[in-house]
């Protein structure tokens, strides 16, 4: 956490490397979050690009005391996407709805290939809810084993094993879970 703050302060002072580290360390998590809100890869990429550019361009006027950079950026991204979505639904005269897809649906939506979508869907059906939840916590929310242990009251050993078994099972169901 402290390392983050240092990067933030350094970035505010104009350090490009610090900015790029912030970008690298937060990009993927923010992308996943953005995708879960929009279900649109290109839109999420564009929003993130815009947001990071705005971050760099307005760095001097930003709050110096940001405790958690990831939360800060998540909120920023959420607002950006939310504004865009209500603009789109206003244009279409539809009520603005935020559809919250399940993790399973998101995984399938993320696949671009129809054939892979089907394979993945079938493979996911073979997992238990618990297995899926642990995978979600580890990869989608990027929590540490310690954090997952707190949440689920399972030992880190159990969590580790669950992940290994689940991945093995999934791989048997599909040749490999790769995306285009």
């Amino acid at each position: 956490m402290l390392a983050m703050d240092r990067n933030w302060k350094s970035m505010k002072e104009g350090n490009k490397n610090a900015f790029l580290i912030i970008y690298k360390e937060n990009y993927n998590i923010l992308f996943s979050y953005g995708f879960s809100l929009t279900c649109d890869k290109e839109l999420t990429k564009d929003c993130l690009q815009e947001m990071f550019l705005e971050l760099w361009n307005t760095r001097t006027s930003l709050n110096a005391d940001v405790q958690n950079v990831n939360s800060y950026l998540r909120t920023w991204l959420r607002r950006k996407i939310s504004r865009l979505q209500s603009a789109i639904s206003k244009e279409r005269s539809e009520p603005s709805q935020i559809v919250e897809l399940s993790y399973e649906d998101l995984l399938i939506a993320f696949q671009e290939n129809e054939e892979k979508k089907k394979k993945l869907s079938r493979a996911l059906n073979n997992l238990t809810q618990k297995q899926l939840e642990i995978i979600r916590l580890k990869f989608f929310e990027n929590l540490s084993y310690a954090e997952i242990s707190d949440r689920t009251s399972l030992t880190t050993r159990t969590i580790y094993n669950t992940i290994c078994i689940a991945i093995c099972q999934l791989r048997k169901s599909i040749v490999s879970v790769e995306h285009v």
Binding site: L20, N26, N28, W56, L84, I88, I163, V177
Partner: protein, 342 residues
């Protein structure tokens, strides 16, 4: 943790290893540096690590390495280029993303045109626009129907009734240029090096891979509506008005209003021609509601008046303001409602 030595790692070991996951998702610099170095010194494990990486990306809903690197390069290049002083500072244009960069060239011509105008004549500007006009040998007229056709670059155009599109048989030069008279919908094949320009009346819309519409609003305006991608809209002949180009993001639109030769962004109220003749407040309110979607509420003490007026290219706000001027009343607006008071 409870690990084997890294050299003995199986696919599952990589996938389940917390620091490896951090490396793959770039969420921790230290982990990233560690694994990058380790893989350099253990190249035999690279293939397995790559496979594990793909699995991790899938479950994290993260971009694959190629796409991620593209995004990273984009931003790195952009912030490095930012150092050069920009001609656009006074335009208040903060966004410097790569997609906009390309359009700056066409905007730059426009800005230079305006500046040089103070010194030289409009000749210079006309000279530029003449140079860029291609030989348009192909003509498509839609007549009474809507027709859809595909161009040589795979752009799909839907031409609405009573419209004409002019385009060259082969795209030449630095841009793909077409001329539209009427209404059409464009699904442009993305090509960053070869922007697609639609000229219509006095405006030109420059696009990259994009889906957008161009339509008329009665006789008063032309609207460019963007669904996907990015479009830059600017007034072609800027010797007549000072014009800032308008950059559209999805769901935004630019409205070019003929009578004041101005390009507005995101005009959510439309321009219409309306005539009132001895109409009561209730009648006027009903009309305004139907046409503009705005609710009028009369909170003043004057109830039994009648109003006569002729409006061209007007808005709900303008109508109310006129009524208030004539009847000696006041108004204020809130959201979709306009209140008339004493």
């Amino acid at each position: 943790m409870f690990k084997r030595p890294f050299e003995d790692y199986s696919l599952d070991d990589f996938v389940a290893d917390e620091s490896f996951v951090n490396y793959q998702l770039h969420s921790n610099e230290k982990d990233r540096i560690f694994w990058e170095q380790w893989l350099e010194t253990n190249p035999s494990k690279k293939a397995l690590a790559a496979e594990a990486g793909e699995i991790i990306n899938s479950f994290s809903l993260a971009l694959n390495d190629k796409e991620y690197n593209e995004e990273f390069e984009k931003i790195r290049n952009t912030i490095n280029k930012n150092d050069s002083p920009s001609l656009f500072g006074f335009l208040n244009w903060n966004k410097n993303s790569q997609t906009i960069r390309r359009k700056r060239i066409s905007v730059q011509y426009l800005i230079f045109g305006i500046l040089l105008l103070a010194i030289s004549t409009a000749y210079l500007f006309k000279h530029q626009s003449v140079k860029s006009k291609p030989q348009l040998s192909q003509i498509v007229k839609s007549g009474n129907k809507t027709i859809t056709f595909t161009m040589s670059d795979n752009t799909v155009i839907t031409l609405f009734p009573n419209s004409t599109l002019l385009y060259p048989s082969a795209f030449q030069g630095k841009a793909r240029q077409v001329y539209l008279d009427g209404q059409a919908s464009f699904n442009v094949k993305r090509n960053e090096h070869f922007p697609f320009k639609v000229h219509t009346k006095n405006i030109v819309a420059t696009v990259l891979g994009t889906i957008f519409n161009i339509k008329r609003q009665g006789d008063s305006a032309i609207v460019v509506e963007l669904l996907k991608g990015r479009v830059n809209v600017e007034i072609e002949d800027s010797s007549t008005a000072s014009s800032q180009p308008v950059l559209l993001y999805p769901s935004e639109k630019a409205t070019y209003v003929f009578h004041d030769m101005h390009l507005y962004k995101n005009l959510y109220h439309d321009f219409y021609d309306i005539t009132f003749h001895q109409n009561s407040f209730e009648e006027i309110a009903e009309n305004v509601k139907n046409i503009f979607g705005k609710t009028l509420i009369n909170q003043s003490s004057k109830r039994n008046w009648r109003f006569t007026g002729d409006f061209k290219n007007t808005t709900a706000k303008e109508i109310v303001e006129n009524i208030c001027l004539v009847k000696n009343l006041n108004s204020h607006a809130a959201e979709d409602t306009i209140f008339i008071t004493n």
